[in-house]
Symmetry: C2
């Protein structure tokens, strides 16, 4: 039985982290709001007692699971997209939550005042936020991910096969390089292990065919990773 | 065997969400950095291959678990601080992650440009961020929590006994009311179910004695919930 995935149509956003693991594993899903529209998403979401706070969420057999890291932990256990022992599960979830934290900070770069105002109305604050993010947060987060990935003996974040968190690292790297091409010009030299994981994920058969398909929405300035040249610099 | 809890000394911060559930359940723990200092925390954290990105984290038997929601999920399962079936576990974790998202936005109110600059150097942006937060985000989050708590037939967030997420709601409410006493003057009328859960948590024997003890650090302007009167308004 296919999962229903609900996320805003027209952008990658946080939904993309879920799509990538589903596609990598060849798990069947329907991207509901792309077919039915954003209004259908809003009314679908409102019906539940155990309401998601926000998309993305998945539905299966009357169960609703929201929050990227929570969804991926569930899919990881159910479809063996991650080691099953407790210590490994908690560790991967922890890394996934750190990715989620960085993604929230990415959003904050172009909306430091808040999501309720346009970027154009907070450009000055965004320029300052972007400078801090480029100079302090990017190296702090990426060095962390590089270190913890380097500590694994295998080619992936954990053990010797890909897990859902590898897919999320791929998307994080894709997004950051789209948003900050100048800042991350030397990404491959600075973070060779992350670069290797990124390239390996891109070569997974499910991901490779997904990236070529029209299911992969292009990055754009409605998503989380936005390329505003004025926010990028060495 | 007692857990080691590691968190910055001198502030409640994110560590407080972990402390509250430990105290409510009467689980033994050592608040290590309060005894050994922040330097000990930094060097302890650096030793691990599976490094936390940031405190709080707990140690037990060589295992290290970081990220508030991840720690609480683990404690919830191990110490029966939450229902054990999968749907309930995922649901509570989802609510806990939404609390974590709101806490991150709380921090952003007084540091919209970033944590690398002082509040004093971003007061103008903070005033705008605070206005959006008061007018849009507080009702959006709190109405969500009120709704999902109201959907439960029992007196708590889920079923008929307290779970770790109830403790986190308590702390969220405490913090918001410390930070925005004017904005939340009518909290009890606007969010009666949340108020009831808050008061019930405060009356749990473990929490009641904790709040009276010197283990409970007072709110202060080094923490996440900061009372800057200029950021508060109706």
């Amino acid at each position: 039985m296919a999962y229903n995935l609900w996320y805003w149509p027209g952008l990658q956003g946080r939904g993309e982290f879920v799509r990538l693991s589903l596609e990598a594993a060849g798990i069947e899903y329907r991207d509901c709001a792309r077919a039915e529209g954003a209004d259908a998403l809003v009314s679908n979401m409102a019906q539940y007692d155990r309401k998601p706070f926000a998309p993305p969420y998945i539905e299966l057999d009357g169960m609703v699971i929201a929050h990227v890291a929570n969804i991926l932990m569930f899919l990881g256990e159910r479809h063996h997209l991650a080691p099953s022992n407790m210590a490994d599960r908690l560790w991967l979830h922890q890394v996934e939550l750190t990715i989620a934290d960085m993604v929230a900070e990415v959003h904050n770069v172009h909306h430091p005042i808040g999501g309720g105002a346009y970027y154009e109305d907070q450009k000055e604050a965004a320029a300052r936020a972007a400078q801090q993010f480029r100079e302090e947060r990017i190296p702090k987060f990426l060095t962390h991910f590089e270190q913890v990935a380097s500590a694994n003996e295998g080619d992936w974040l954990i053990d010797h096969r890909w897990c859902y968190t590898d897919c999320s690292l791929f998307q994080l790297i894709e997004g950051l390089r789209y948003m900050f091409p100048v800042r991350l010009r030397n990404f491959a030299d600075d973070y060779p292990v992350l670069m290797r994981i990124h390239d390996q994920v891109a070569e997974l058969p499910g991901v490779r065919s997904y990236l070529k398909s029209d299911r992969r929405i292009a990055f754009n300035e409605d998503g989380i990773f936005r390329h505003y040249p004025e926010l990028d610099a060495e």
